[in-house]
Amino acid sequence: MNVRLTFETIDIGAILSDFARGRAEVGAIASFTGLARADGGATQILELEAYPGFTEVEIGKIADQARVRFDLLDLTILHRVGKIAPGEPVVFVATAARHRRAAFEACDFLMDYLKSRAPFWKKEHGPDGARWVEPHDRDHADLARWED
């Protein structure tokens, strides 16, 4: 299980290849890549702030929940911090399980938690200045799907 923050561009292909290598018991790997979106030019740069140390520990708790809930064999989460240009990956999640349903669902679960529970703060810089983005009602509704 690997949780990491990075200021560097995420090389999705390299990470997914590494993650998939040497797996005899894994029948399914699912991955999700979130990209920074330009929104028709309204966002020129996306800036992500984390609380180093705390952020990794909190994501680790979410990852542990996912591992148990979906009986994952492994997972990896890589999240960008700093300034990100439209089109660049912001977050990459991969899950390994015996069967595909668990791998797909675990990815979905992890992303819903990362969107509104992981300690990140997101600022959009555009032609009209900068604004902080807070979770939408939609993000809270997505998260509520996983509550028993």
Partner: protein, 79 residues
């Protein structure tokens, strides 16, 4: 002295993100910051703002030690 960290929009409101503040309790620390900067005080009391002391989320008042790290965390948004 506690080390106070502000994240997200809170640091924009205050104009700083990392400062030492002398205070024996979290409640007194809030009062001190509010006295100095009413806009920051209002932002700290805003909806969804959580507090972590030494990287553990706390609720209610609590005593601070010399070297405590007090982080004010506005609503989080990743991905």
């Amino acid at each position: 002295m506690a080390r106070v960290l502000l994240f997200g929009r809170l640091s924009d409101v205050a104009g700083w993100r990392d400062r030492q503040v002398e205070s024996p309790f979290l409640s007194a620390l809030r009062a001190k910051l509010t006295d100095e900067d009413a806009a920051l005080g209002e932002a700290l009391a805003g909806p969804g703002v959580q507090v972590a002391i030494d990287q553990v989320i706390v609720r209610g008042d609590t005593a601070l030690n010399a070297g405590s790290e007090v982080a004010f965390l506005p609503p989080m948004s990743g991905g």
